[in-house]
Symmetry: C2
Subunit: 300 residues, 2 copies
């Protein structure tokens, strides 16, 4: 089944303790799309400026990613983010954000996108996420991401959104912020009670937790010593998860757990290099091999 | 097989954001022994003062814990620790430490302890741990714990100890401190290269990691919303782990992984109340039930 994503398309500048990259391909919708493209065809909605290198579009198209929803604003500049990671490769500092064309982005879905059964609303203002949702007809599964900014500044709109989505994906720190509860098990269930049928809390190097009315579980991250650039890990996680659900066209409990595992594994590859470099090198077979290792790791 | 532990026996005063307890039963050897007593008979070596309530000794004896190695120092006072947990129930501050009789503790093993095949050296100075080790004859498995104080102040002795033990258990923050590496996968293997055949890194609410020459894996903590008092979680973990290994008298890879799981589960019960209160309420059957839940959680 095809999968639709709306989110940011960016040129990132990333500083890590050992290395740096300037203006590399990034953005939530890009990481998500590429991660999902291991499993299914993806329809991307986003916006870029005239400075956007056309090779990036061609690169995405080479991966079953439909970019007919990628608006190019004449005379505009692409969204840029510059960030710096601490030595623990977990904490990061945003050095610069230039919203540019993303600031006025009014996502309009191409007609053929509107009936897409699987929908992911990557991090964006709850108002924009809702506007996209209103253009979609009869989706089977709608999952959204959010961030601390919207929890702080658009709390009411966020709560409205929660009542319209099936699943929510967010970071541990955001879950704590939203619920004012430091216990993630309680926090996850409290967020679920705000509307989503299931909630996924991403814990970075510690894996991810899942909450539904019937289930609570946690899966660890895949242990890797090669952490070069964590940018896009959360979006790759979501892309792997949603990609698998779209592929098998199911979101029953067993499918959701395996989807979480795929999300964790795609993210574990993604952090092994800058931008999408590592994901570019791997195939579905590499994911399947790591899945076997992961399942063996969790068996005793 | 019997299991021998040397470590602290304490009266703890614990402050959490919601509640507090004064002078309750605690200490690494106590938490360890009780946790291990679900699986095997335990021989405890420690020291207390004249103020030590005899009921505590009787309580330990009621659980297959041999206390003939518990020295009572006439006129002495028992080791006391007072700590306060932050709202995240993870960070804690030590408010008071009175070493008392623990300061001059010179562990002497009763003869019947010396041939104990399974040995756990709970946190203590590497010099004291080594002195105990020298009294033991032909152990099958020696595992030690340590802490930041010894990493900072007794680095050389600690490295000597590492070359004498089979396994090492330590916290994530201590592993990072020892290796000056923030990546726990690298840190774990670097510590293993210092001597121990295997290293276990405890990550608190995020579970535990295992490192041997052949294996690297991580198991998550059991998700619980009832975190009342985390004191003794690490020692209960070690007790559950070593208790199971002693019970089945094996430390092949499969046994070690299942032992890690039991450690995680005993610890998950331990945090559900102050002191040993929650462990007192449960039976081996409760552990087995939670093990089944845990195995189901990790299966997909």
């Amino acid at each position: 089944m095809p999968l639709f994503v709306v989110g940011s398309v960016a040129l990132d500048s990333v500083h890590t303790p050992r290395d740096a990259r300037e203006d590399v391909l990034g953005g939530s919708a890009v990481y998500f799309s590429y991660a999902a493209s291991f499993f299914t065809s993806v329809r991307l909605v986003g916006v870029v400026g005239e400075d956007w290198p056309h090779e990036h579009t061609q690169f995405l198209q080479s991966r079953r990613i439909d970019t007919s929803g990628l608006q190019v604003v004449p005379g505009g500049k692409t969204f840029r983010w510059r960030g710096k990671y601490a030595t623990n490769m977990n904490d990061r500092q945003t050095l610069e954000v230039h919203l540019n064309v993303l600031g006025d982005f009014d996502p309009v879905l191409p007609d053929e996108y509107k009936r897409c059964p699987y929908v992911f609303l990557a991090n964006g203002s709850p108002r924009a996420q809702m506007k996209v949702l209103e253009q979609v007809t009869g989706p089977r599964l709608v999952v959204a991401d959010t961030m601390d900014l919207w929890i702080r500044e658009s709390h009411d709109e966020l709560l409205q959104l929660f009542r319209r989505i099936d699943g929510l994906v967010m970071n541990d720190s955001e879950a704590k912020l939203l619920t004012e509860d430091e216990n993630l098990v309680r926090a996850g269930h409290r967020i679920r009670e705000l509307g989503p049928k299931f909630v996924v809390i991403k814990k970075g190097e510690h894996g991810a937790m899942f909450f539904s009315q019937y289930e609570t579980y946690v899966l660890p991250a895949f242990p890797t010593e090669r952490v070069v650039d964590p940018t896009g890990a959360g979006d790759s996680f979501a892309g792997g998860m949603m990609g698998y659900l779209s592929e098998i066209d199911s979101f029953e409990p067993g499918a959701l757990k395996k989807a979480m595992a795929y999300g964790i594994l795609v993210a574990s590859f993604n952090v092994e290099d800058f931008s999408l470099e590592r994901m570019k090198e791997i195939s579905r077979e590499d994911l399947e091999f790591r899945l076997q290792q992961y399942q063996r790791m969790l068996r005793f």
